[in-house]
């Protein structure tokens, strides 16, 4: 079928945002699209020819990857272990800079601005990250959610200011009903699934534009996973979401677009159903059919 490596589909940044019906993947005519409140919003993040090298390794961990991230859609990154998914994700809010010796080439644009030009604290508030291991801070539930708001404020905000924002974030993360009776409880006493949703609430409290999730469900049981996936579905209305997952069924359930990476290369980027049912590259087909990985 296709030769390997297949040509990476490059998406030009000038292209107008797609207006596609998420169910049928058909392009919707403009007027109807507006009426339907399209699930594909404007492009928020553009990954442009990004390569990332770690010191001491010959080949780049991420090799000239170009991808768009749109509001209103979930972009799922899949690929075998070590293919650079985490590395790519961590470069999007410049967390990869914490690794000594890691260097990045190429540009990443957030709403058209190069993220290297943005102040790093502002960037990370706009592009927030959820980690594989739930990492609530050792404080109360309330303090966890209020953490970023407090840190961002010039003067210490009072409880009256914080309370509504904390409640809103917890509601958006679908955790409010479970914890509302005692927000002073230590966050580490919550279950793993609740902790992960608390981390999501903590990230949502500062109203980010993009949410990065690195295997957010891998430490959770199936029920908590279902709850978090449900949550991702709802959140994507107002956020651009990038999720890394090893679970192909999950990528299929929550992803609107899927990007398949292999050894640092972006092999294929396509609407979810298309990538799973009719992959263009052999590597992709082998991977989604479980032949390797």
């Amino acid at each position: 079928m296709a030769e390997f490596p297949p040509p990476v589909r490059r998406i030009s940044s000038e292209q107008a945002p797609n207006v596609v019906d998420p169910a049928t993947r058909q392009e919707i005519p403009e007027p109807i699209a507006r009426a339907l409140a399209p699930s594909y919003g404007p492009e928020r993040l553009r990954i442009d020819e990004v390569s990332i090298h770690y010191a001491g390794s010959a080949r780049p961990a991420v090799n000239r990857v170009t991808l768009p991230v749109r509001q209103g859609e979930v972009l799922a990154l899949i690929g075998p272990s070590g293919c650079g998914k985490t590395t790519l994700l961590r470069s999007l809010n410049r967390l990869v800079e914490l690794t000594p010796g890691a260097t990045r080439d190429g540009r990443i644009l957030l709403d058209g601005d190069d993220i290297d030009q943005l102040e790093i604290t502002r960037l990370r508030r706009r592009v927030s990250m959820i980690f594989q291991q739930p990492n609530p801070f050792p404080m109360s539930i309330f303090d966890n959610v209020a953490y970023a708001i407090r840190e961002q404020a010039m003067r210490r905000p009072g409880k009256a200011v914080l309370q509504p924002r904390v409640e809103k974030a917890l509601r958006r993360a679908g955790l409010w009903d479970e914890v509302a009776d005692d927000l002073g409880r230590p966050a580490l006493r919550l279950s793993g699934g609740q902790q992960q949703r608390l981390c999501i609430a903590r990230a949502l409290a500062v109203e980010p534009d993009v949410l990065l999730m690195d295997e957010p469900c891998s430490a959770l049981d199936p029920i908590s996973t279902g709850v978090v996936e449900e949550l991702i579905h709802e959140l994507r209305q107002n956020l651009a979401i990038v999720i890394v997952t090893h679970n192909l069924a999950q990528a299929r359930r929550v992803g609107d677009h899927v990007a398949f990476m292999y050894l640092g290369d972006l092999v294929e980027y396509a609407p979810t159903e298309e990538l799973f049912t009719n992959p263009r590259a052999d590597r992709t087909r082998d991977y989604v059919q479980g032949a390797f990985g």
Partner: protein, 326 residues
């Protein structure tokens, strides 16, 4: 018989043995307190609560006790120990406060900022410093710090202004606190470094990913998380500072005097003598019953304060841990 000791114990026997050990340790401590309390009783009995008060010259009182001989009258027991208590509290609080501050900052530097090579040198050196006998610090004090303070920091005007009560010639509060801090800080650094190193990376990365600066991430998450360890370090350091006798007796000026903060800069150079140093210095005169009882009374006060210190410390730690508990 001996071999049976090394045979694997059944759980119940092991439990019983551990229980017996714990009980006997507690018994020994209680017996010690009771013994000291009995010996101390005459001193408290004759002075009442004014034992803890001020007003007289402690050194003169202690001298009188020796002179009172083997069969002292009630008056010979008179003791107003306030200057000694105050000196103990003052040196301990200043040194521990300063030490905690330095230890936290130094640990942050070691764990967060120092390159791995620097770290691998500094940490063992700090651990080594923690093991230096306090007498060595005392020696450094006498040979280096005391002459330095005497020659360069104290001027004649200051000497004159207080010459009618005390002589300022180097040993005093400043040297005591500096050396005490130097003595207790390494152990605190080593405890805090261990705790900081054990802070899960995810917490710090989580804070950074929320758009918090590195400094704030360390202060608001890592340091906050290790508060129990900081308290533990402070309690340990306070216990060492409270009990430090020899070094302080060498460099404190050894005078039953209460340095007054409102004396201005002179405050730092004024001599003093904490309880532990007093006990060490006066123990030769223990044949005199009045002095013996007074010394035991001081020992009891020291013992009870360190007991309260560790109880208070664990209460605070428990409160702080609540936030962390799994």
């Amino acid at each position: 018989m001996l071999r049976s000791l090394f045979r694997p114990l059944t759980d119940r026997r092991a439990e019983r043995m551990l229980g017996a050990t714990a009980v006997s340790v507690v018994l020994v401590i209680v017996a010690m307190i009771v013994f000291i309390a009995i010996e101390a009783w005459p001193s408290f009995q004759h002075n009442g609560l004014s034992w803890f008060g001020s007003g007289k010259d402690v050194d003169a009182e202690l001298g009188a006790m020796v002179n009172a001989g083997a069969d002292p009258s009630g008056d010979a027991y008179q003791l107003r120990a306030w200057p000694l208590l105050y000196a103990t509290a003052l040196t301990t609080v200043l040194a521990v406060g300063l030490g905690v501050f330095i230890a936290v900052l130094a640990s942050i530097f070691i764990v967060e900022l120092a390159p791995p090579r620097v770290r691998s040198i500094v940490v063992p050196v700090v651990r080594l410093l923690a093991a230096v006998p306090s007498v060595v610090y005392g020696l450094i004090g006498i040979l280096v710090l005391v002459p330095f303070v005497n020659d360069h920091l104290i001027n004649e005007g200051q000497r004159e202004s207080v010459s009618y009560v005390i002589t300022l010639n180097g040993p005093g509060l400043l040297v005591s606190v500096v050396l005490l801090t130097l003595m207790i800080t390494p152990i605190m650094i080593s405890i805090v470094v261990d705790a900081l190193t054990a802070v899960p990376r995810g917490w710090r990365e989580g804070a950074l990913a929320l758009g918090v600066t590195r400094w704030r991430a360390v202060m608001s998450v890592s340091v906050r998380a290790i508060r129990p360890a900081i308290v533990a370090a402070a309690v340990l350091a306070s216990a060492r500072a409270l009990g430090e006798a020899i070094m302080l007796s060498m460099v404190s000026g050894s005078k039953g005097f209460s340095p007054q903060p409102w004396d201005g800069l002179i405050f730092l150079f004024e001599p003093l003598r904490p309880l532990a140093a007093t006990i060490a210095e006066q123990s030769e005169g223990i044949a005199a019953p009045a002095l013996k009882s007074s010394i035991y009374a001081m020992a009891l006060v020291l013992l009870v304060s360190s007991l309260f210190l560790s109880i208070g410390g664990s209460l605070i730690k428990r409160r702080l841990r609540l936030g962390t508990a799994r």
